[in-house]
């Protein structure tokens, strides 16, 4: 029993030390940023969360870790836990707090007014709630979806394409709708089977859905959100081509991933930092697109894409960039 008393004392002492440590000053000299990000899935999910993490790491590499400090809370899919984390980071004096998930908006709306000197950013969303210290960002993922769809229809020999989606909302829906539009534009007779599995995280269910698509004769597949790793596994086993989105998914299955639409949030974050240095703490809505280089189509170097399909893809990208191709989805 005595041992436990000592242990308890030790733990209490440790907590006392931590409490003292927490009271350090949070003033920052100009050009130095303390950034915290709260994300719903893991930083290495090869999808939504990773796209933001990669962007932050890229900026940190450019600016230096002493000028751009990054704290991460990943895997926070419970909204109230995220709210606690956001509030905690704000009270610890972080300059920029990124709530990387559309589910965090309602929490931000309540927290941001309590910290008028802190900048908050959230997405994917298009609403700053009229607050002067909130930025919002979204992805016009239908654009890359359209490009992927054009390539998919051009590469499919069976004439059947399978799509594994999470829930029919948000940037996943935009991507899938754009993909359908692109594929139909390339080949109006193409058969596109879309299956929304009702989950962003159920990897096993995603692979089940992929099996079903394969059985239905699909020779090209795509999908959105972090559970697609299950579908990519099935595609790799069966030699089905895969188109990725959100992050570069080539490393998952180098043989079958043709290309990925990558969300590159660096343009957004850099502009936010720029505005912050000029004293603007929020109020702007960003939309990353092919035109502003916030969306990039990354071709898998290990997959030998026929030259005419690559040209087709590049022309499509150009067309969307200069507005000659209109992706009429989500308007």
């Amino acid at each position: 029993m005595k041992k436990f008393t000592y242990l308890l004392l030790a733990v209490l002492f440790a907590s006392f030390l931590a409490a003292c440590g927490g009271a350090s000053s949070n003033t920052t000299s100009s050009g130095t940023y303390k950034v915290a990000v709260v994300m719903p899935s893991a930083i290495n999910d090869l999808a939504f969360s990773q796209s933001m993490y990669d962007a932050l790491m890229k900026i940190q590499a450019e600016r230096g870790a002493d000028k751009f400090e990054v704290a991460v809370s990943d895997g926070v899919f419970v909204v109230e836990d995220a709210a606690a984390a956001i509030r905690d980071y704000a009270s610890k004096g972080y300059n920029l707090i990124i709530a990387h998930g559309s589910q965090y908006g309602a929490s931000l709306k309540e927290i941001a007014p309590d910290f008028p000197n802190t900048t908050f950013a959230w997405g994917t969303a298009g609403d700053t709630f009229g607050l002067p210290n909130v930025f919002a960002y979204e992805a016009l993922s239908q654009e890359g979806g359209y490009v992927n769809g054009v390539m998919a229809a051009a590469l499919s020999t069976s004439g059947t394409i399978g799509v594994v989606g999470p829930i029919e909302v948000g940037d996943a829906k935009l991507y899938v709708d754009g993909f359908k539009a692109g594929a139909m534009a390339q080949n109006p007779a193409i058969q596109i089977n879309v299956n929304y599995i009702g989950s962003f995280s159920d990897v096993a269910l995603a692979s089940e859905a992929a099996q079903t698509h394969a059985a239905a004769g699909a020779d090209v597949m795509t999908g959105s959100a972090q559970m697609v790793v299950g579908a990519i596994g099935v595609a790799e086993q069966q030699g089905i081509l895969w188109f990725g989105t959100q992050s570069d998914q080539s490393s998952l299955a180098p043989k079958i991933v043709v290309a990925s639409q990558v969300y590159d949030w660096t343009v957004v974050i850099n502009d936010i930092l720029d505005l912050m240095s000029k004293g603007t703490l929020g109020g702007k809505v960003y939309a990353v697109s092919l035109a502003n280089q916030g969306l990039l189509i990354k071709f898998n170097p290990d997959y030998s894409l026929p030259a005419e399909v690559k040209t087709l893809a590049e022309n499509t990208i150009k067309g969307i960039q200069d507005g000659s191709i209109k992706v009429e989805v989500g308007q």
Partner: protein
């Protein structure tokens, strides 16, 4: 005296198990290059370091306690309810539907009605597996789990459909409801997130204690759990009481869902999983109840301890910047250790009982001889 010490040790068993789990967690922290003292310091500070931290712990404990109370009833009658997640969701959906339908009604009418509605919805969702078990002898472990899946998909359907917030800017529509009128917020007790739900939960814990140990129905529920066949022989309608206990168990989970909506989130959003809304309280409530040795009053401190762990672990992740997966692993370790210690505790109780019996026998034979 010896008995007293023994039962005290039994009562503290889950606590020892938690400490053991944290010790294993310390090794994991070391391997990840984080200082365990800093980590656990942050854990304690996050859970108890400030009035706000205390409030967060209590807020986290509330659904655990409510679900746990239902679990006490179910497990005491010998049925296992793993459907807390689905029952919470159904309770939440029923209660939020009412609030969203009558946004300008007075809160004094809507809030109690919504909580009752949540209670009833949970009761129905828990009662169905109960009925299936009583009528067709369907295994309630399987049926309650399957009812969870149905509830999740039902939630996804409603949040994408009739309940979706129509006033959203931007191209991407988020599957979430509008915020409930602020008039319906459960009253805050102090200027923190602490809401009336926690008082309600503690009050209900005493009520459940009274129900299980001081009423005939409660007595019969426990009798069925102790020995189904003897109970039947004694004239207790066993099936009826199993249905009732699952129904009540579901009702408390449903209430937990309703309290979560009116006290904490004030709106609903789905990421496609049950845990996205419940935070796994439907499962963690089982652990809290086991922690409290399936006693309603024991479940109160157990829920607080577990709530503190959950809140503190998030703080620990922020302080040490270890991957979030470690936090999940740490909570899992606590569950495994606590549940295993419960088995060990039961063995101890049995061994003591047998030793006692042998002593009595020896005494009896002595007096005979």
């Amino acid at each position: 005296m010896r008995n007293y010490v023994n039962s005290l040790i039994d009562g503290l068993f889950p606590l020892f198990a938690t400490l053991a789990a944290l010790a294993v967690g310390a090794v994991m922290l070391l391997l990840l290059g984080a200082n365990p003292l800093v980590g656990f310091g942050a854990l304690l500070q996050g859970a108890f370091g400030s009035p706000n931290a205390w409030a967060d712990t209590a807020v986290k404990a509330t659904p655990l306690l409510l679900v746990g109370l239902g679990i006490c009833i179910a497990f005491r009658s010998g049925v296992i309810n793993i459907g807390g997640e689905g029952q919470m969701i159904m309770g939440a959906l029923a209660s939020i539907s009412l609030g969203l339908s009558f946004p300008s009604a007075p809160g004094i009418i809507i809030v109690p009605l919504a909580l009752i509605l949540g209670f009833v919805a949970g009761a129905i969702w828990g009662g169905i597996p109960g009925f299936l078990k009583a009528r067709f002898n369907v295994n309630e472990i399987l049926s309650t789990i399957m009812m969870n899946v149905i509830a999740v998909q039902f939630m996804n359907m409603l949040l994408r459909g009739v309940l979706i917030d129509q006033n959203q800017l931007g191209a991407a529509k988020i599957p979430q409801t509008a915020r409930l009128s602020t008039a319906f917020d459960l009253p805050r007790l102090v200027p923190t997130r602490l809401h009336l739900g926690i008082l309600l939960a503690v009050l209900l814990a005493f009520l459940v204690y009274y129900f299980l140990w001081r009423t005939t129905v409660g007595y019969k529920i426990r009798a069925v759990g102790l020995n189904r066949f003897a109970s039947r022989y004694a004239g207790i309608k066993v099936e009826q009481y199993m249905v009732l206990s699952l129904l009540l168990s579901g009702a408390f989970s449903g209430l937990a869902g309703a309290v979560q909506v009116y006290g904490v989130t004030h709106f609903m959003i789905t990421d496609g999983t049950a845990a996205g809304f419940t935070g796994s309280a439907g499962f963690n409530g089982i652990v809290a109840a086991l922690f409290g040795q399936l006693h309603p009053l024991g479940t109160i401190p157990a829920s607080f301890l577990f709530g503190a762990l959950l809140v503190g672990a998030n703080q620990m992740q922020r302080a040490t910047q270890v991957p979030a997966a470690l936090i999940t692993a740490l909570n899992g370790l606590v569950v495994v250790f606590v549940v295993s210690s419960e088995i060990y505790r039961q063995q101890r109780v049995r061994r003591r009982a047998i030793a006692e019996m042998k002593k009595q026998e020896a005494l009896a034979s002595q007096t005979k001889g």
